[in-house]
């Protein structure tokens, strides 16, 4: 198997701290290095997940972190893929390790997010679909999540109460996570009392924007053994697939879907194909998972992921939730970390943070939120413009 070892995992707590993304990334990197028991000088490659909202250093995140940690001549890579940036950074590190280019790689992602809605870069840019969807439609990210949520209500009979249950579940898990921004329980009544952002989604149905950082030290299995980590958590698959034409669900930031006139809709659809690619590479199926970390940009979207990951048949996500299967203590806990509901979104960090959580869970060191006997976990998200992302880790 083409496995790589997770030698170290580290995070900077999520929140609105008002500092530079470099500070969060550096803190997370130092924590990951300490966890791995190696020094920064031992790292021969650093991969930074980029952010577009922090100006020039954000674009060259790898070098920005390398400078902050102290120039030491390491190989450097910077990766940007919106919400999938972290997963593509992990994939890049893995490829370097498996090809023998590097034995041990530091992966870092961090962000200082602006308050309120994410917005495109400034200026008049009518050739940019992301700019156009704001200019012409006022279509914020939550507006897209709301279209998906309403569609689920029409197709599958989901209700706003089901959506609220996701928040209640994730807030309960997040309350047990010292890295989460929100660490208090939330009731269904509090969700229902929060203002509508984009019908049918309320403020507590959509994730906040946050500052945060996460880092991993990945290495070859041989390096791990030499280093005394004989049985580390391993990354067994990384999926970074694009959609297959025609994409028939309006994806961010598109103004229209592809036409299905010339070719019928692909099966499986995009999100499902992300999971399938990871399962295939890992030689695992949904029945093998102990837990999953998915992008709950909205509560409703988490239910969609249950189905796309094959945790239940299509349309039965709300049923799986209502049965308690995806809560801590359930058959297949989802977002044991508390999810984005508890963290908020720090774009380049979050996909890495998901793998940090899998690492701690698979080591059995997740404390009060530990999933008993966790052996295999999957992360899933998708990035703007059609970036797939899923990581499978095993112990």
């Amino acid at each position: 198997m083409n496995e790589v070892a997770v030698l170290g995992a580290g995070m900077h707590p999520w929140g609105k701290w008002g500092r530079s993304f470099i500070e969060y990334g550096t803190a997370a990197a130092r924590a990951a290095l300490a966890d791995a028991g190696i020094g920064w000088a031992d790292v021969r490659s650093v991969v930074g997940a980029g952010t577009i909202r922090c100006g020039y250093p954000g674009h060259v995140a790898g070098a920005a972190f390398a400078q902050a940690l102290g120039w030491q001549g390491t190989r450097v890579t910077s990766v940007y893929a919106a919400c999938a940036s972290g997963a593509q950074a992990i994939d890049t590190a893995r490829a370097q390790i498996l090809s023998g280019i590097a034995e041990v790689v530091l992966v870092v992602g961090a962000d200082s997010a602006p308050k309120g809605f994410f917005a495109p870069a400034g200026g008049d840019r009518p050739d940019d679909p992301d700019w156009l969807r704001f200019r012409l439609l006022g279509a914020t990210n939550p507006a897209y999540f709301a279209l998906y949520a309403r569609r689920r209500m029409a197709l599958h009979g989901d209700t706003p109460d089901d959506f609220a249950r996701v928040k209640v579940k994730n807030a309960a898990a997040g309350a047990l996570n010292p890295y989460a921004r929100y660490r208090t329980a939330v009731s269904a009544g509090q969700v229902a009392a929060s203002p509508v952002v984009a019908d049918p989604l309320r403020l507590l149905d959509v994730c906040a924007t946050s500052d945060g950082g996460a880092a991993l030290v990945l290495s070859s299995m041989e390096y791990a053994r030499r280093h005394g980590a004989g049985d580390p958590v391993r990354i067994r698959a990384v999926s970074t697939v694009t959609p297959v034409y025609p994409r028939t669900e309006p994806g961010l930031p598109d103004i229209a879907t592809d036409s299905a006139v010339a070719a019928g809709p692909p099966a499986p659809g995009f999100r499902e194909s992300i999971a399938r690619a990871a399962y295939e590479e890992a030689a695992l199926g949904p029945e093998d998972l102990s837990l999953a970390e998915v992008y709950d940009l909205s509560t409703a979207l988490e239910l969609q992921w249950y189905e796309d990951l094959g945790l239940c048949p299509e349309g039965e996500g709300a049923g799986l939730l209502r049965d308690g299967a995806t809560a801590l203590g359930g058959r297949i806990p989802v977002n044991a970390s508390g999810g984005l509901a508890s963290f908020g979104e720090a774009v380049p960090a979050q996909a890495i943070a998901q793998v940090c959580e899998l690492t701690w869970q698979l080591r059995g060191t997740a404390g009060e939120r530990q999933v008993t006997g966790a052996r295999a976990g999957m992360t899933a998200n998708q990035g703007l413009f059609g970036h797939g992302s899923a990581v499978v880790a095993v112990s």
Binding site: P120, L132, G138, R150
Partner: protein
Amino acid sequence: MVAGWFTKSDDEEGFRLLGTRCGACSAVFFPREDALCRNPACAGGVLTEVALSKRGRVWSYTDGRYRPPAPYVSDPESGWQPYTLLAVELAAERMVVLGQAVPGVTVADLSVGTEVEVVPGILSEDADTVWTTWQWRPVEEER
């Protein structure tokens, strides 16, 4: 701002969204694709302008209760009036096209499957310019 995305006509009856169609595989593109057909199975054909269906059915809908950030144009001095956003399925083109609803239509007026038609509308205006756009309007029951 988006040249060639819809007809210039102010006449509601004649107003259409404009896309392009591939001469080889018949794929339709909106917003218009003038360079290359994006169907990976297509050897590549000439893309010609095509008017999209005037009517479609609501695939989903929502609204914006908070003021969107720039470059959306709205007067920060005036109170925020939520807009309604529709995703509309066009049967002939087998595609979903987003657009705002005409002013006055709220989510309470809609359901998935509601028939709507495309009409010209005003995106924003200042002293010198009126920016037109497309909007979706529920089709009145025909008697």
